[in-house]
Symmetry: C2
Subunit: 437 residues, 2 copies
């Protein structure tokens, strides 16, 4: 009998790699934060002596969701301005509020709200881009969730830095500071082609190459963005980014609702990644990412919620469902984006985009034990002909019962382990008064 930290016995285990496999009555064995075995429950009891044993007789175990595009702290602005045009929303609502209220305290409390919602809905890693990324990282570390922290870059001054040189300098300092943190990685995060000029983009390309870091950027979010770039420079943004050397396997291109066939081929050829944010794209009427065509061309497509101000939740179960449903309608093909593909987008494809595919994204031996349990015994997910279908098309976030990151339990029978919910609610109430005032 081998002593180990944790053994989880589950009705179903969906490792994601290999794809479409659902193991029945299997057990996941975790030691020192890593997955060390995956075997039939009938064998697990005779091979392992676990410090902690979990029995999940109605549950599916799967890799934790990777939310590949967030602005976590914006959760404090959930629902403050809906049903508005993108530029009206940004210029007359979101940016003035940020101008007035942005601070370390705002990012701390907003990130805590986001982390609470993410853990409770099965997200174990988020790829963020916002002001005060140092605070976002600090809160992720405090609450035990994995995060990919964007070192934000703009041309113009904000409360975080005064010009692109200062953004980059602060980003590099933060990168150094976070180097020993097991759960934290960083990306360069120039906001968008229309907010960052060529020189800082070139600096970012060269630093990203040197430090082997991804570049996280909004690209081709709207037709307006593409048309404006064409008017101003004669180039579509992706063409300009290609010229600057950004199109390579380090690129995490978020949104991509406006893509020609040639651009899809170029993304595939250069190994760049897309993050699809279907609910945000719908809510802001930004357009439809041609996900089925991108996947068919060989582009890696991950999934993100975007910030809660344009979604309005951080629920990856809901986002998978929207991606699977919308992807079919956009392709005009009901067999496009099957449930398993949506699940890959929310797990292993996200890991690939973040450069973390050796560490997370599937329940594979040697990977970190980032694991989520979903209870399928609710009437809303009965009968269970296929657990993957029920998870993608019918389960809701409250069916996520337990979550582990690197083997540490963050959600235990629906209770958040590392957050004080009542204290958090008081802080949210204070922010609501301030922001609505």
């Amino acid at each position: 009998m081998q002593p180990v930290d944790t053994v989880i016995h589950a009705r179903w285990i969906i490792p994601v790699e290999p794809a479409s496999v659902t193991l029945e009555h299997h057990s996941l064995v975790i030691h020192d934060g890593r997955i060390i075995d995956l075997l039939p429950t009938s064998l697990a009891n005779s091979q392992y002596q676990a410090a902690t044993t979990e029995n999940l007789p109605d549950h599916a175990l799967l890799p934790g969701f990777i939310n590949s595009h967030t602005h976590a702290a914006m959760s404090l602005m959930r629902g403050i301005a809906d049903d508005l045009q993108l530029m009206d929303w940004l210029q007359n609502h979101i940016w003035p509020l940020e101008q007035q209220w942005m601070s370390e305290e705002f990012v701390k409390d907003g990130t805590d709200l986001a982390i609470a919602e993410m853990i409770a809905s099965g997200t174990t890693c988020f790829n963020d881009m916002y002001f005060f990324p140092n605070i976002t990282a600090q809160q992720a570390i405090q609450h035990g969730i994995r995060a990919s922290i964007g070192l934000i870059v703009f041309d113009f001054p904000t409360v975080w830095a005064k010009d692109s040189d200062a953004y980059i300098a602060k980003g590099l300092a933060l990168h150094d500071e976070l180097r020993g943190q097991a759960l934290i990685t960083t990306t360069f995060a120039p906001h968008a082609p229309y907010t960052v000029s060529d020189t800082p983009l070139q600096q970012v390309v060269s630093l990203a190459d040197e430090l082997d870091k991804p570049i996280h950027i909004h690209v081709h979010e709207t037709q307006h963005e593409v048309e404006q770039a064409l008017n101003e420079s004669g180039m579509r943004p992706l063409q300009r980014l290609h010229g600057l050397g950004l199109l390579n396997p380090a690129l995490i291109a978020v949104h991509a609702t406006q893509l020609t066939d040639a651009e899809i081929a170029l993304l595939a050829e250069t190994g760049a990644h897309i993050v699809h944010c279907p609910e945000s794209n719908l809510k802001l009427a930004s357009g439809f990412c041609p996900v089925a065509r991108c996947l068919a061309a060989g582009v890696n497509v991950a999934l993100g919620t975007d910030g809660a101000a344009s979604n309005n939740d951080l629920d990856m179960l809901g986002e998978m469902r929207t991606a699977a449903l919308l992807g079919k309608a956009v392709a005009g093909d009901a067999s496009a984006i099957p449930a398993m593909t949506a699940l890959q987008m929310a797990t292993i494809n996200g890991a690939r985009a973040l450069g973390l595919a050796d560490e997370i994204g599937s329940l594979s031996l040697g990977k970190a034990a980032d694991v989520v349990a979903i209870d399928l015994s609710h009437l809303e997910t009965q009968p269970v002909y296929c657990p993957i279908s029920q998870i993608v098309y019918a389960a809701s976030r409250q069916q996520v019962t337990d979550v582990w990151v690197a083997g540490k339990r963050l959600l235990k029978q629906r209770q958040l382990v590392t957050l004080d919910v009542e204290a958090l609610k008081s802080k949210i109430a204070m922010w609501q008064q301030r922001l609505a005032g």
Copy 2:
């Protein structure tokens, strides 16, 4: 002090009529199954002596959702065949399973599963179309939910009837039998233009007119349907239905993903209703209903989930959200289908389509007390700048805590009052074995 049955004190009350009103710290007064007052909580306590008092300090009260298109019993086939083309799905999966298993017992157990899910997610009335409508009605009555029961008509034989005359005769008999039932109304439900020929459609028109009943029919679900009709008859289905006299305020046209401007104008002019089923349309890649254009033209657009086999849930909160999000993207306008419009589609517009606007669809004095309470204190719906936004864009079905139909409580603090969940689960398990076998 006036003695009354029930007083509910709520943090917010959203009556839906008048639109966009949110009352704070108000109370709803119910007597003999009807809403008899709606007043500030500070006054309610001194005016009414209630047999039952409910305090809902974190909740929004709103009219129960009206699911305007269901095939309730199909919940037993939830997830049995996903990610398939419509005709492959129907011809090679759904229809053969129905052929083999359709029975009163199937409809009874499947409808119970659907009713349990609907009550627990805030639906208080459903507009159904399926085999054995007598059983659907019987189960709705047993569990206390309001239902509009479709008297199904096909040209061809099924287990329910052998030809269109027999369908109509059985429908009329059922209509007579259900006449005294307070919670039940009926519609004529010819399945679709491509499954019911002119003669029975004309009979239905004349009977519907005579009995003052709605006609519930799938129309223009897919481009294929329209093209096939054009090839066979030279007419688009709506043109044919118009010729047969179906376009009038009794028509409940479900799906309507293929509409010309002239057809939208015709629907508006004749007072016909559309039921939009966005998730089913997406999942089957049927097309996009131009909801914003229909509403702008003055067409009444209600909301339905369709059956759980093509959705895969019966969750009207989720359906509202999808309708609001998708409607913006389809219109190319982020201000289209604001949250309040989606809420109207799920309540009062459904009541209008079913001919029940004097009875249900809003929290108005004299209407039946079909009421739902949603707890907005969950972190996922914080902060609450606008309760309507949180309900449409962020709340999940588990936040529905309490449901009343005609003043009778059907859900009490998340517990189903009129259904035995464990017994139902056993029956579902039996059906799963049979259908998957």
